[in-house]
Symmetry: C2
Subunit: 142 residues, 2 copies
């Protein structure tokens, strides 16, 4: 079969596979994502207001489930997506990695300089979590 654009790779259902550079660019230019992980045997998903810094995902949180999973160095998934509902097109980037609670004073001071304010009341959302990606993949509907 003739492929009109042989440089574009597609997956098993015909979605365009985004390059690593495209995924990186989308992670850097967005600020709302979702983290999923297993808590007490259930899969859960939470939205987070994040920044992409030095190829890691950072966000702020409070004590609780999200923080606990992060503190435990457990595997998580992180996803961002975007859509044009009129054109019926969209893209998504999926990150698999390990979340961890930022504990070192120096690193926390560095993060505090970011313009990253959680939308929840700041007095209760003081902790930093960082996800270090182990795999980043992206798809686009063309």
């Amino acid at each position: 079969m003739n492929d009109p654009n042989p440089a574009v790779q597609t997956d098993h259902i015909g979605l365009e596979i985004l390059s690593g550079a495209e995924c990186d660019s989308l992670l850097a230019s967005n600020q709302i994502g979702r983290m999923a992980f297993v808590a007490d045997g259930d899969v859960v998903i939470f939205p987070v207001n994040y920044r992409y810094i030095n190829h890691t995902i950072v966000f702020r949180t409070a004590d609780g489930t999200k923080l606990e999973v992060a503190a435990n160095h457990r595997p998580v998934a992180f996803e961002i997506d975007g859509y044009d509902t009129d054109a019926k097109t969209g893209w998504s980037v999926l990150v698999k990695g390990i979340a961890r609670y930022v504990m070192e004073d120096e690193e926390e001071a560095e993060l505090a300089e970011l313009d990253l304010r959680p939308w929840a009341p700041l007095t209760r959302v003081r902790r930093w979590v960082r996800i270090s990606p182990e795999e980043i993949t992206g798809r686009k509907i063309v």
Copy 2:
């Protein structure tokens, strides 16, 4: 302490807890969500173009990971969210449930009448998946 609006319940970090009716309404009025589940030991998240029908979430997919998890009657999480980045407000609804592959001819015929076209090439995305919620929760940043 005086609560300015005692009818509104908040969670441990001060987010407003949405009622079941509010979650239902948000599920019915949105069409893009994300499903997360465990595949080969990893947590994964995929966006889906869904409809909320008879208190269940339905979407179309192709053979592959999403379908396999559905066919296996395994627990999944499904999430929708929305934001006003200027006002720094947002909401999210999290559904925990069991996904299953729709196999009965009659049920499939009923679903086929929905205006639910996946954005990926339809020839490869022919199967229906239905998530039956076991728990629905929602939060709002106020």
